[in-house]
Each structure stands twice: as structure tokens, then as C-alpha cells.
């Protein structure tokens, strides 16, 4: 029923838009098709688009229009961020928002139906454009996702999204979409009423599957565009009973107020008031629903403008750009692609690494020394994949075929075909040396040996290698399947190709990769060291674990500092603290390491042992403080220094030591750029995202102010707080910023 591809007027080409005018032979019925050739909404695109919309209304022969993208993989992936960043004032941004609102309102009020044909990312402004259309058709491909990720950038949907979404999907669902910014797959979007029709992706035909799928989407969209104009298709959705009931309830002002209140409380609890965007979103939606159309749109543009100039937004935007930066392989394409991976040690880390590898299609050997450990590891991989089956993001068949990539074994069979070996055995240099030698006896010449360690220097591990150029560090974070960061460590001897290979594998595993130089604790562990030492000192000074957690989460850390130690494992923390203490001396002092040692002795190893600072019980949500710690804390008690023990001082003591150490890593060349430092701290260690990472924090807080703080604490505690030279340099020159 498609029009058969008769283009009666050829194509009008512009920079960002291509317009095709198809017509049906023998009639003057036309559907105008606008193809986006870029994937962001820029000023230029907007003006071209407005011109074309005007043409649509002016041309009698055109009865309806289809919007589609000719850019593979995306419909419109959002507004042009440069355009927003280029604005100097909130008024300027608000102005942009208003222009967007006007353009989309024009589409919404168009007497001729406009159909959005969506394949690939439909994000932010793209989604707002789609919901301003009269009908939406989306392909059911995995790459087709709809979302309003503005909140993740500290913004709000600023082109009518806050006003249209609640009307479209109901208030609760709209809040969910806008406040979480999460990705919605096409089938889910259909259920929510966000799209009207789905198109299944096609297999190979007489064209490539991708090309034909887009063409088919266009054909289907043209059919519907024609149907809408003919009135043989209705754009009205039949709402389900649940939605009808919800809509009915939301029409009652009292109920609505309750919803606002509940959502607001939840947001305040989760953001600790550190992120302004979610609250502004609620406020904007409220304005529209309670005070009407004009007030709603005005609030949206004003709030959008205000948010765009906040430091939180700038921090989040910086992280976004940093992420993009860390998703590229700076070392180029490796000579030999890694197809077979071997992981040594089926513990939590080893199995986690295996899981994120097999599901990307890497043939993976998981080797352990004991059947029991291997079984546990294989079960972990199965469980990880099976949870996706339960969430329906994977079918059981896909799970099984992914698992067929995994071979569990106790010997070195098949290692002669491995392209890379990642060892995740116990953190003991002797054991690491032993496996390195064993592995080098069986692997082929090109095979990379990567060590997953959180603190042992890679050069020390590589010391016994016959081919140190092939040895590299790959520091994963636990739990591997959820933590996005991978810290890759190169030694002086590591070859470029080895680094390229490791980064390629990391990116394939879906990781955000930072590459740092070798040294005790590398970058991430090293930054964490002084902070944790300070946590111990604060504990010794009589602040209880719950309080420390509250203070650190209030600053923006996603996990409280005491809980973090429990999660890491007290034994691991002790180990690392000792190693780093030996390497860096007094600077890593502060709290007493003996406190940790006593905890280990008592079996308070943290979450994995069920006891640490807290008691962990299966199924119990509100964990209680471990009373067994009272005695230990009492034994190591230190007198508190009231002049540096306010909540804010405690926060700053933790953070300044972290930031100072990060700066020192940059100063020493462990880090190659502040961007990687920020990304590593936020994605690996949970540094408050609203601050954008230690370096952005120095920029926004002011290097001078930070140095002043350090000096203040230095006066009380000594050299642990001595600011590094790099920070002093920045403090002395106010125009110097880590991020321009």
C-alpha cells in the first residue's frame, strides 16, 4: 500500500534537511517527507525546519507530512549542547527554549497531520519534537530508545516536554520519564502511549537490513500520514482502564497535590537537595497543570534558562563530555583483535569480568584452581544474565547462547588460542608472579597479560615477565557488571599496541576507560586512600558510622564513607592502606590502621562477612550499627578537635584530601588529563556527580579557597593536608582553570 516510490518533484536538499515529495499516481495527494541529516537540533536546523513547515501549510497539494531521519542510528538525539553552552546568560537560554516551544507548537497546531517516524535515539529535544507531532511510529530495534535525559545534564525538557508529557502518558509516568531520564525501549513506549505504532526491524532482503528497515518505516509512516489526512486513521489513542482511572484521579486538584508532594519528598530524599533540576521539573509541570498553558510554557523556558547556568548543570555536562571522551580508543586499532579472552580466578571480580565479556560475544575461558570456586563463578555469570531475562531485556534463548561463549575449567587448556589473559587472582604479589609465569608458558606470543589489581604496581608484577611490553593493568570495579569504569594502567615498558588492545577490550565490554600511569594505587585507589584514612580518624574522634554516612551522602557521595569501607571489605582496605602507607609515608596517615586490623581479627570484614561497621542480614533493609564495634572504637578513641569538627569541616577534611591527592596524580603524570581524573573519580569512586569530579570541583570552588581549607587543617593535623604544588599554582593564578 505504499506509494511505490514515485517522487514527483525530486528532492529539495538543504544542509540539515532533505525533503522528498512523493505522490500517488493519478491523484494530487501528497505526503511531504522531511529527512533530518543531522542528529542534533541546532539553530540552523530549526530555521530551515520552520521554513519547510511553512511550505507544508502553504502548499495545497500537501495533505500531510512525515518526519524521519536519514542519519543511521538516531532520529534526533537532542538539542545541540554547544548551542546551549554558548549562551552567556540565563535569558539567552530561555530565549532558545521559547523559540523551540514556538516551533513545536506550530507543529502541534498544524491542520495537516504530521507523523514522526522514529528509528534510533529519540532523546531530549528529539522526543519533544516527536510528541509535538500528531502520530508516532517507532521501530522495535534495540537502538530505538526514547528518553528525556535533560535531568542527567541538570536541565529540564525545555521545548514543551514538561507540558506535553503529562497530558500524553499521565502525571506519574511523565514524572518518571523526566525525573529519571531513563531510556524507554520502543515496545515499552507503545504500552505507555508514547508511540502509536511499532515497526519490526527487517532482515536481509534485496537491500541491507538497516537500509530496508528505514525504507519500510518510511513506507508505513506514509501510509499512516495519508490515513490521518483521509481520516481513515484516528490519532486518538484508546486508553486502557488503568490510564483512564489515573487520568480521572489526576484531574482532582487534591490528588494532584498529593502526587506533587510525594514525588517532591522522594526527590528531596534522593538528591539531598544537591540537584536543582528535578525540583524545577516538578515546579514546571505544576505550573502548567495548575495555572494553565501560558504559565506552564513560561515557567518551562524560565526554569530551563536558570538551570542551564547552574554549576550543577555545568558539572554534569562536563561529565557527559568526559564520558564521550573516555569512550574512544586513543591508542588506535590494535594489530590483533581480541576474540578469545581468558580470565584467571572465578571470584567476584573474575566472574564479573567474564560476564561483561561473554555478553559482548567474546569467547571467554574462566579458569580457577578449585571446582567449588569455579562453580560459584559460573553461577554468578548465569545469575547476572538471568536477571536480564527476568527483566525481559534478554530472552532465555539469548542467555543460553551467550553462555555458550563461556568455558569454565581448572587447567590451562585452550590458552594457546587466547588473545588476552586477565588475571583476577588474590592480591598477593607472589601469587601474581606465579600465575604470570604459568600463563606465559602456555600463551601465544601476541597474547596480552592484564592484571586486575587495585593497588599492586604493575611494573612489580611485570618484573618476572619474559615480555613486559605485553603486561598491563586493568583495574575493574566491583560489581563489574554494574560499575561503568575501567582504569587501565600502563608501565614504562607497556607497548602502545598492548594499551590499544586493553582499551579496545574495555570499550567492547561497555566500560568507560581511563588510562593512567603505573604507581602505587594508580589513580583511583590512591585518591581513595587519604580519604579513608581521614574517615578512620573521624571515627576515632567519636563520630559514629551512621553520622559519617549521613555527612558524606549529604555532600553528594552516593554511598556513605563508612558503608563504602564495608563494601570494599575491611581486609582489602587494610591491605591497600598498608601498601600505600609504605609507598607514600606520612601523607597517607591519619586514622590508625590498627583499628582496621582489629576489625579483621574480629571477623568484621564488611558486607561479605555480614558484619563490618554495620550488620548485614539477608532480606533486612534497615541495617543496624554493629555493636561489636563500640569496643574497638573506644579502644582507639582520640580527642576531637572542636575547631575542625563541624559537619562541614568533616566533609571538607574528607574531600580536600581526596582532591589534593588527585591533583598530585596529575602533577606527577599518573593522570594524563583532568578529564580522566574527573571521570575516574565519579564513575569509579562515586565522587559527587553534581560537583563534576575533583578537578571541576577545584574550578568551581576556587583553588585558592580550597588551599585555604587545606592550610587550616594542616595547622591542626600536619602534613597530611599540605597542598600539592599544582594546587598552589592554581591558587596563585585565579585565571587558571583545569577545565576551560
Amino acid at each position: 500500500m505504499s506509494c511505490g516510490g514515485m517522487w514527483c518533484r525530486g528532492e529539495l536538499c538543504r544542509v540539515g534537511l532533505r525533503v522528498k515529495l512523493p505522490c500517488l499516481l493519478g491523484s494530487w495527494f501528497m505526503v511531504l517527507i522531511c529527512c533530518f541529516q543531522v542528529n542534533t537540533l541546532s539553530k540552523q536546523l530549526s530555521s530551515e525546519f520552520t521554513d519547510i513547515m511553512n511550505e507544508i501549510w502553504a502548499n495545497e497539494a500537501v495533505k500531510s507530512a512525515v518526519l524521519i531521519s536519514s542519519k543511521p542510528g538516531s532520529f534526533i538525539a537532542g538539542a545541540d549542547l554547544d548551542m546551549i553552552e554558548a549562551c552567556k546568560t540565563s535569558q539567552e537560554v530561555a530565549q532558545l527554549s521559547q523559540e523551540g516551544q514556538k516551533m513545536l507548537e506550530k507543529i502541534e497546531q498544524s491542520p495537516k497531520p504530521v507523523v514522526a517516524a522514529i528509528s534510533g535515539s529519540c532523546l531530549g529535544g528529539g522526543l519533544e519534537l516527536a510528541i509535538a507531532c500528531h502520530y508516532r511510529i517507532a521501530t522495535k530495534e534495540k537502538k530505538t530508545v526514547l528518553a528525556t535525559p535533560e535531568v542527567l545534564l541538570g536541565l529540564l525538557p525545555g521545548a514543551g516536554g514538561t507540558q506535553r508529557l503529562p497530558k500524553m502518558v499521565g502525571l506519574p509516568a511523565a514524572f518518571d520519564i523526566m525525573l529519571t531520564g531513563r531510556n524507554i525501549r520502543a515496545d515499552r513506549a507503545k504500552k505507555m502511549g508514547l508511540v502509536d505504532q511499532l515497526v519490526d526491524p527487517l532482515g536481509p532482503g534485496v537491500k541491507s537490513p538497516e537500509a530496508r528497515t528505514i525504507e519500510y518505516l518510511e513506507e508505513v509512516a506514509i501510509d499512516f500520514a495519508r490515513g490521518l489526512a483521509n481520516r481513515t486513521v484516528s490519532a486518538k489513542r484508546s486508553k486502557g482502564l488503568m490510564q483512564k482511572l489515573t487520568d480521572y484521579a489526576m484531574a482532582v486538584p487534591f490528588v494532584r497535590q498529593q502526587v506533587y508532594k510525594t514525588v517532591e519528598n522522594k526527590v528531596r530524599k534522593q538528591t539531598k537537595g544537591l540537584y536543582p533540576a528535578p525540583l524545577k521539573i516538578i515546579e514546571t509541570v505544576k505550573a502548567g497543570l495548575d495555572q494553565g498553558h501560558d504559565a506552564g510554557y513560561l515557567a518551562e523556558s524560565q526554569n530551563f534558562g536558570q538551570l542551564a547556568v547552574t554549576k550543577e548543570s555545568k558539572a554534569l555536562l562536563g561529565l557527559y563530555r568526559g564520558q564521550v571522551y573516555c569512550k574512544k580508543n586513543k591508542f588506535g586499532t590494535p594489530q590483533q583483535e581480541v576474540k578469545t579472552l581468558a580470565v584467571l580466578g572465578a571470584g567476584l571480580m573474575g566472574a564479573g569480568i567474564a560476564q561483561v565479556s561473554v555478553d559482548k560475544g567474546l569467547k571467554t575461558i574462566l579458569k580457577d584452581t578449585a571446582q567449588q570456586g569455579l562453580d560459584r563463578g559460573q553461577q554468578q555469570v548465569f545469575k547476572g544474565l538471568n536477571s536480564k531475562v527476568k527483566k525481559k531485556s534478554l530472552t532465555s534463548f539469548e542467555r543460553d547462547s551467550i553462555l555458550s561463549n563461556l568455558t569454565g575449567q581448572l587447567d590451562y587448556k585452550g590458552f594457546e588460542k587466547a588473545d588476552m589473559v586477565i588475571e583476577a587472582v588474590f592480591e598477593d604479589i607472589n601469587i601474581k608472579h606465579k600465575v604470570l609465569k604459568e600463563v606465559e608458558a602456555v600463551i601465544p606470543a601476541h597474547c596480552v597479560f592484564a592484571s586486575n589489581t587495585s593497588a599492586l604496581p604493575i611494573s612489580q608484577i611485570a618484573a618476572v615477565s619474559k615480555r613486559p611490553e605485553k603486561v598491563i593493568g586493568m583495574h575493574y570495579f566491583s560489581p563489574v557488571d554494574r560499575m561503568q569504569l575501567l582504569e587501565i594502567i600502563t608501565t614504562d615498558k607497556t607497548s602502545q599496541d598492548t594499551a590499544a588492545s586493553a582499551v579496545a577490550v574495555g570499550l567492547k565490554q561497555g566500560k568507560i576507560v581511563i588510562v593512567v600511569k603505573d604507581g602505587p594505587g594508580f589513580y583511583t585507589t590512591r585518591c581513595l586512600g587519604p580519604m579513608l584514612a581521614e574517615v578512620v580518624r573521624v571515627l576515632q574522634e567519636g563520630t559514629d558510622p551512621k553520622k559519617i554516612d549521613a555527612i558524606s551522602t549529604a555532600f553528594g557521595f552516593p554511598v556513605g564513607a563508612a558503608t563504602l569501607i564495608d563494601e570494599v571489605g575491611v581486609d582489602v582496605a587494610t591491605h591497600v592502606a598498608e601498601d600505600l602507607g609504605k609507598a607514600f609515608g606520612e601523607r597517607f596517615g591519619g586514622g590508625s590502621i590498627e583499628l582496621f586490623k582489629l576489625m579483621v581479627e574480629k571477623g568484621f570484614l564488611g558486607r561479605k562477612a555480614g558484619k563490618g561497621f554495620y550488620i548485614y542480614q539477608e532480606g533486612v533493609k534497615n541495617r543496624s550499627v554493629n555493636s561489636g564495634m563500640d569496643e574497638i572504637l573506644a579502644r582507639f578513641k582520640l580527642p576531637a578537635k572542636p575547631e575542625v569538627c563541624t559537619d562541614e569541616d568533616i566533609q571538607m577534611r574528607l574531600v580536600t584530601r581526596f582532591v589534593n591527592e588527585a591533583a598530585m596524580c596529575l602533577q606527577e603524570g599518573i593522570l594524563s588529563s583532568p578529564v580522566e581524573g574527573d571521570i575516574g573519580a565519579v564513575f569509579g569512586l562515586g565522587f559527587p556527580p553534581c560537583l563534576g569530579g575533583p578537578f571541576r570541583y577545584v574550578d568551581s570552588y576556587g583553588a585558592k579557597q580550597l588551599v585555604d581549607k587545606l592550610r587550616k587543617y594542616e595547622a591542626v593535623y600536619g602534613s597530611q593536608f599540605t597542598p600539592c604544588q599544582l594546587l598552589l599554582d592554581y591558587a596563585n593564578n585565579p585565571s587558571k582553570k583545569f577545565h576551560q
Binding site: 500500500m1 505504499s2 505504532q197 519490526d200 526491524p201 527487517l202 532482515g203 536481509p204 532482503g205 534485496v206 537491500k207 541491507s208 537490513p209 530496508r212 519500510y216 508505513v220 501510509d223 499512516f224 530472552t395 534463548f397
Partner: protein, 474 residues
């Protein structure tokens, strides 16, 4: 209903006098000279026995829920086997082996081959087994027989297939089954009561046979719709093709060409003498139907898909030697076959495209040598997509690893007596029908080579593979 399986059978007509008939008539006379030397070539392989189809029959294929509704699968199979015995008068002790195909298995007669053979008057000394391979189950039964004869294990094999879609096994839920099985082991009344007390309303929800491909969770019809879209096959083309199938089937039925049909006296009902799914309609009527799978804009409808069918078929296979010794005039030689398999998601129904060139190359023939093409018609869209795929250089180069396309079979030689769309498609019984139609058609048209192809998907057991098989008779 079929998953990724497709067989191609290459058949050749057996002339009366000798292997190289002088009366070879090609419809395309311009091909005659070019082709003749090649056609003279015997496809006999040295050291391998010639295997022949002596005869084949089927009971009429009926839409499910009609006259066969109250029977069991082995009843239908029995009728086909009896029909074969009657038609051939083969002494029962001569039959060395029986192989039957079935897709949706009746749990009471899991080896339906044996149950049917016993009831049909075959010797109880003749072993029988059942095979399954989705819609090409009886192709699998036939090639199993071919293998047995070629290996010298048997001289006479009966192969066939049966499907009864009027009744399918519907099970208790897994929870309920578990409770019932545990109940068997409960010893005391207390234990039994405590087990029974655990039963909840959701335990009673029945479990239907899966209609979706196990590996992809996609139904066959949905897959066919996507396939049609991938090859840009329009609704109009599909309806036209379906109408052609019904029209040709009607003509063949009225003309008495469907020689393999044997009447079946259904207990308690009248004798069934002909297929009841052939209904040539009009384009207008067909155009009114709504899409059945991809709603509301898809192109596959009830009218351009094969319908749920009950039926059974059987063929008598022998080594050529044996057949001649017994005084039979074989209807066809089974020459070559090949099974192929593809991606079960996007190429589920594209088997014939892959299998056809393969079997031709194996036999040293080209498309032009083939006089009769019998392809299984699961969906009109699927057939048309296969024809387009075979006619596409792009597809051949990018997906089949070939330099150029094979070319589509000419429609005047293609399913000229109707197909599964019109005659019906009792999954496992279709393969034998395709072979017998080819044999009869070769004889009528005076052709030499015939090619059978089918794509298959599983009923309940879905293999993620596509196959095709082919055989030929000189």
C-alpha cells in the same frame, strides 16, 4: 507454523523404456539443444544404488475441525498406509522398515509410525520409527528411508507423515504437573492433603503448544510478514499469488490430476474423497481481510497464508533392483537431497533460496534443466520473497557467498497444481505430497527433472536450523 527448516527434493521422471527417454519434451524449445546433452547424463552415482518411488498416496487434506476432528493422528496415518497397501498390493512381509514424520506429537502415540503400521495391517515384524523436523518431517522420513536403502540395510521402506491440528496436546501448568507427580509419591493422607492444599487458582491455567519459535519467540506468521516487507512484497502481490494457488488447485482437482489422493471412510461419517480447503475467491474478497499478524498495517492475512490442516501421506520407496524384480514401474528416482539451515530470526523462511542452487550444483544441473518445481507454500509472502531472493544478485553476493543469482524458477513450471496455500498444509504430511505431485506432474508434462523445496519451522520442537533436501529421478 514452521521454523527454520527447508528441504529441496530433486526428482526425475522415470521413462518407460530406459533411463534416457527419447520423448524428452521441453516446454522451452529454445533450450532444447543446449540442454539436451546434459539431460542425457544419468544422475546415477557409481557405487550407490538407485532409489525409486514406487507409489505414494495421501488421504484428502482437510481443514482442521472438519471431518477428521474426532480422530487421532495414528488413525489418519493408518488410513494413508492402508491406502498405500491397497494401491500397490505390496506383500506386507516385503516391507523392511517404516518411518513416519510428525510435528505436534500426540503423547499417547509418541511412536505414531508403529501404532499406525500395526493398525494398518503391516507385519508386526516390521520395525517403525517416528521422526520430526518441523514442516519437513516427512521429507526427513523419506531421506531416512533413502539412507537405509543406500546403505544396503533395507530394500523396501515405507515413509510418510501425519498431522492432526484438530486436536493438540494442552497440558496442565508446570506447577500443577509437579504437584501431581509429587502426589504420586505422597504416602499418608496428611501428606496428600498438605500437597493438595498448596494448589492455587493459577495452577489451573493450561499450557498451550507454543505458537512461537522457541529461539526467537516470534510466530511464523509474524516472521513471514517481516520477510515479505524485507523483500518489499506487497499485499496485492501476495493476494494474487494466493488466488493463483487456489485457482490452479481447483483446476487440478477438477481435472483429476491429484492422483495421490485416496478416499478415506471416516468412522461414523461419510467417505472423504477430496481436499476441502480449495476455495478460489476474488481479489476483492481477499482484499477485505485484515492483517493477521502485524496489525494494523501488515500484509499477511488468513487468505494468503496456509491454513491449519489435518492429513496424512505415505510413499513406498525401493531400490531400483528390487522394484524391477517385483515387477513395479517406479514413478520417480530420488536422486539428491540437501538440507540447509539459516538464522532462525530473519531468514527463517528463506531455505528454498539457499537449498535450490546447492542441490542443483550437487547434481550438475542448472535451473533450466528443471521441468517441474514444487515448493512448499507456507505463506504467499514467503514464496514471493524466496522468488525475489533467488532473483537478486545483491542477496546472492551478500548472503549466499555466490557471484551471482541463481534465478527464480519460471512460474509456468512452478506449483502448477496448487500448493500448501490451497491444498492445505498438515505439517509433517506435506513433504510426501510435494514429491508425489512432482512425480505425477513430470509424467504428465513429459519432463525429466523435478525439484522439491520446502521451508520448515517447528511445531512444538523448533530447531533453529533451516534445511533443504533434494532428490532426482532419471
Amino acid at each position: 507454523y514452521s521454523s527454520g527448516v527447508l528441504p529441496t527434493l530433486l526428482l526425475t521422471y522415470v521413462p518407460k523404456e530406459n533411463n534416457f527417454p527419447s520423448f524428452l519434451v521441453y516446454t522451452e524449445s529454445q533450450n532444447y539443444l543446449a540442454v539436451q546433452p546434459k539431460s542425457k547424463k544419468t544422475l546415477t552415482k557409481s557405487g550407490v544404488k538407485n532409489i525409486v518411488v514406487v507409489e505414494g498416496v495421501r488421504i484428502p487434506f482437510l481443514q482442521s475441525g472438519t471431518s477428521y476432528a474426532d480422530l487421532m493422528p495414528h488413525d489418519l496415518a493408518r488410513a494413508a498406509l492402508q491406502g498405500l497397501l491397497n494401491r500397490t498390493s505390496v506383500p506386507r512381509e516385503v516391507v523392511d522398515y517404516i518411518v513416519y514424520g510428525t510435528v505436534i506429537q500426540e503423547v499417547k502415540t509418541s511412536n505414531v509410525a508403529r501404532e499406525a503400521a500395526l493398525g494398518a495391517g503391516f507385519s508386526d515384524k516390521t520395525p517403525a520409527h517416528t521422526v520430526t523436523m518441523a514442516c519437513i518431517s516427512s521429507n526427513q522420513a523419506m531421506t531416512t528411508g533413502v539412507g537405509m536403502i543406500a546403505a544396503g540395510q533395507c530394500d523396501v521402506v515405507v515413509a510418510g507423515g501425519v498431522e492432526l491440528m484438530s486436536d493438540v496436546p494442552i497440558r496442565h501448568s508446570r506447577k500443577m504437573r509437579k504437584t501431581m507427580l509429587t502426589l504420586n509419591r505422597a504416602k499418608t493422607l496428611g501428606q496428600k492433603l498438605s500437597l493438595l492444599s498448596k494448589i492455587r487458582p493459577d495452577y489451573f491455567a493450561p499450557e498451550l503448544p507454543a505458537v512461537a519459535e522457541f529461539s526467537t519467540s516470534e510466530t511464523m506468521g509474524h516472521s513471514a510478514d517481516r520477510l515479505a516487507a524485507a523483500f518489499a512484497v506487497s499485499r496485492l502481490e501476495q493476494d494474487e499469488y494466493a488466488l493463483r494457488s487456489h485457482t490452479l488447485a481447483k483446476k487440478a482437482q477438477d481435472g483429476g490430476l491429484l492422483l495421490d489422493v485416496v478416499p478415506f471412510k471416516v468412522p461414523g461419517k461419510d467417505t472423504v474423497t477430496k481436499d476441502n480447503g480449495i476455495r478460489p475467491s476474488s481479489m476483492e474478497q481477499m482484499g477485505k481481510l485484515k492483517p493477521a499478524f502485524v496489525k494494523p498495517y501488515g500484509t499477511v492475512t488468513a487468505a494468503n497464508s496456509s491454513f491449519l490442516t489435518d492429513g496424512a501421506s505415505a510413499v513406498l520407496l525401493m531400490s531400483e533392483e528390487k522394484a524391477l524384480a517385483m515387477g513395479y514401474k517406479p514413478k520417480a528416482y530420488l536422486r539428491d537431497f540437501v538440507y540447509v539451515s539459516q538464522d532462525p530470526k530473519d531468514q527463517l523462511l528463506l531455505g528454498p533460496t539457499y537449498a535450490t542452487p546447492k542441490v542443483l550444483e550437487k547434481a550438475g544441473l542448472t535451473m533450466a534443466d528443471i521441468d517441474v518445481f514444487e515448493f512448499h507454500e507456507a505463506f504467499a509472502g514467503q514464496i514471493l520473497a524466496n522468488l525475489k531472493a533467488m532473483d537478486s544478485d545483491w542477496f546472492a553476493q551478500n548472503y549466499m557467498g555466490r557471484k551471482s543469482k541463481v534465478g527464480a524458477p519460471p512460474l509456468e513450471k512452478f506449483n502448477t497444481w496448487g500448493g500448501s496455500l490451497s491444498l492445505g498444509h498438515p505439517f509433517a504430511a506435506t513433504g510426501c505430497r510435494l514429491v508425489m505431485t512432482t512425480a505425477h506432474s513430470l509424467k504428465k508434462e513429459g519432463g525429466q527433472y523435478g525439484l522439491v523445496a520446502a521451508c520448515a519451522a517447528g511445531g512444538q520442537v523448533r530447531h533453529s536450523l533451516l534445511l533443504s533436501l533434494s532428490a532426482r529421478v532419471p
